[in-house]
């Protein structure tokens, strides 16, 4: 079999998603505490606390600015965690994939299912934030509901690179590189905490290549009701990252497991 052969996804991918839903449901309590607790603390602490000194940013209350950015960044961190720690656990530590690969469900399906699951978790966490934001009066209008499909796409876009990391990893510590070198810089540079047009010109060009920049550019208008521009470009970038990273993850996991 050619490792670079284009993946074919079948319905079996949903079995992987289903598996993860069942496991997640068992740990519902702690998951809910995490999903609601963390954004509440962030939004209250930073949004009100820091917002008291900042006042307005980009013509909106700092709380709104922050909340509409954190929706996107939490989708990123959620999908990244799931695509690394959980995928690695199932692929290597628990050898769940080995058992699954003896069935008609193969690597193409497994990774597609994992990716859909990562995106599902992103949606769960972003929805929690949106609910908290709604209570804090940040959400402006019904268009905010469109954040949910957008967040699903953001989840897919970050799940792929995370699974690529899992395909390379020999242990959990390996993921520190990705968090320190990729996730955290993106978190700080992509317009979650301050507008990107305050960055030096050269950096402004650079952050256009980061998917989180485009994710925030979609979630901020949708949540706060400001005009949404260049939506197709932003969606296209996220979709491109999702597709290319899925393909590369499939090739690398094939290389690792089909030996």
């Amino acid at each position: 079999m050619n490792l670079w052969q284009p993946p074919r996804i079948r319905r079996n991918a949903l079995a992987i998603w289903h598996r993860n839903v069942l496991v997640w449901r068992r740990l519902l309590g702690p998951a809910i505490v995490l999903n609601f607790g963390e954004p509440t603390l962030y939004l209250l602490g930073l949004g009100y606390g820091l917002g008291f000194f900042i006042g307005e940013m980009d013509d909106m209350p700092y709380l709104s600015f922050l909340a509409s950015g954190i929706v996107a960044s939490s989708a990123m961190t959620t999908a990244s965690f799931e695509g690394m720690y959980s995928v690695f656990t199932r692929m290597v530590t628990q050898r769940t994939y080995e058992a699954i690969m003896a069935t008609p469900t193969d690597i193409d399906d497994i990774l597609a299912g994992e990716m859909i699951w990562c995106a599902t978790k992103s949606v769960i966490s972003a929805t929690a934030i949106l609910i908290v934001a709604l209570f804090l009066g940040v959400v402006q209008g019904w268009q905010a509901i469109l954040v949910i499909p957008v967040v699903f796409l953001i989840g897919l876009c970050f799940a792929g690179p995370a699974m690529i990391m899992s395909a390379f990893a020999t242990n959990y510590d390996f993921f520190n590189y990705y968090f320190v070198l990729v996730v955290t810089p993106m978190f700080l540079l992509s317009g979650v905490f301050y507008p990107i047009d305050t960055l030096p010109a050269i950096m402004q060009g650079f952050v256009q290549f980061l998917p989180l920049t485009h994710a925030v550019a979609l979630t901020r208008p949708l949540v706060t009701g400001i005009p949404l521009t260049q939506a197709l470009l932003h969606l296209g970038v996220l979709l491109a990252y999702a597709t290319v990273s899925y393909y590369l993850a499939v090739v690398l996991v094939r290389k690792r497991l089909l030996v």
């Binding site: 079999m1 319905r11 079996n12 079995a15 289903h18 598996r19 069942l22 496991v23 068992r26 628990q94 050898r95 769940t96 080995e98 058992a99 699954i100 690969m101 003896a102 069935t103 008609p104 469900t105 193969d106 497991l257 089909l258 030996v259």
Partner: protein, 335 residues
């Protein structure tokens, strides 16, 4: 106690080949091999795991790959499942080429891996239910009925809601075998099914595997336990260093390679060994550790000599597969 476990799922899977054991028109299929390998080769860099082997595996029998560690048994099984790409050669299962039809082949195959890889996040019954999903089987009453039958077959009905990490090694293995049967496979592949189990647990596994064979399933297993190979396998292939050394029924292999009787002497020092070697005739003598083996067609003269030598402990027995195995694969230690 088990009934016919192929019954429930026989209707569950559409377009499934008819049950081989019970349908008369498939009689001719019995002759057609279920697996055919030609010049099958697998290498990792310079290391050759499987070295251009040819074999056919008949339907409806228990076929064994016997060989020391590193013989290429597991690699061959993985190639049959389509999860290890071939370096070269041809390999077909159910008349389908593994390189293109891995998914179709696995749909009709059950696999028991060397190390149990049950899903630790689920209970026994959830493990079976989830595994059925990976085969694309619908979660319905028929599946539940099948799961009940399989749990009974594996003697795990009482523990159906237990988590897998609370099970003993024998129970985990039985569950893995039940899991391999969830799709009512035509071919069941078992990689060292009883390694690491205690004698009681092994006997239970053996009786279950025999039941499956009687139902007409094709079993393909690897082992390095001679007793297991002798008890279960209709036909064996002895492998070493990626090559096939010989193939045949256990009785044929014994007849072909070793003299019918063996006298085994244990706990001998070098001096005793030398004395015995010079006094014993008309037999092939092998020496392993502080044991001496005399292979012969007529043991009477040697036995007479040994009985008159005081202080020797010896055992006279018919030759077995272990003698064949050691003769073909040598006696040096494998790691």
């Amino acid at each position: 106690m088990t009934g016919d476990i192929s019954y429930a799922a026989g209707r569950m899977i559409k377009n499934k080949s008819p049950n081989i054991a019970t349908t008369p028109e498939t009689e001719s299929h019995l002759a057609a091999p279920i697996i055919t390998a030609h010049e099958l080769r697998k290498h990792y860099g310079d290391y050759i795991a499987v070295d251009g082997i040819d074999f056919t595996i008949p339907r409806g029998k228990c076929f064994g790959f016997l060989g020391p560690n590193g013989a290429g048994k597991t690699t061959t099984l993985r190639m049959i499942l389509g999860i290890t790409p071939l370096s070269s050669g041809r390999l077909s299962v159910f008349d389908l080429a593994v390189s293109e039809h891995g998914r179709d082949i696995r749909a009709h195959t059950g696999t028991v891996p060397q190390a149990d890889n049950l899903d630790p996040d689920f209970t026994i019954v959830e493990n079976l239910r989830m595994y059925a999903r990976y085969f694309g089987l619908p979660l319905n009453a028929q599946l539940e009925q099948r799961i009940d039958t399989l749990l009974e077959f594996a003697a795990l009905s009482e523990r159906r809601n237990a988590r897998t990490d609370t099970l003993s090694g024998g129970m985990q293995r039985r569950l893995t075998i039940a899991r391999a049967l969830i799709n009512d496979p035509d071919l069941i592949i078992l990689d060292e099914p009883t390694t690491g189990l205690d004698p009681q647990a092994r006997h239970v596994i053996w009786s279950r595997l025999n039941e499956l064979r009687e139902q007409g399933k094709t079993l393909l297993l690897t082992t390095h336990y001679m007793e297991e190979a002798e008890r279960l396998c209709d036909e064996l292939m002895i492998m070493d260093h990626g090559r096939i050394l010989d193939q045949g029924s256990p009785a044929e292999l014994i007849r072909r390679h070793v003299e019918p009787e063996v006298i085994e002497l244990r706990g001998c020092d070098m001096a005793t060994i030398d004395t015995i070697r010079s006094n014993i005739h008309d037999c092939r003598v092998e020496h392993l550790g502080n044991s001496l083996y005399c292979y012969t067609h007529d043991s009477a003269p040697q036995l007479e000599y040994l009985r008159n030598e005081h202080g020797l402990t010896f055992m006279h027995r018919p030759s077995g597969l272990e003698d064949v195995f050691l003769k073909l694969t040598g006696r040096e230690l494998r790691d």
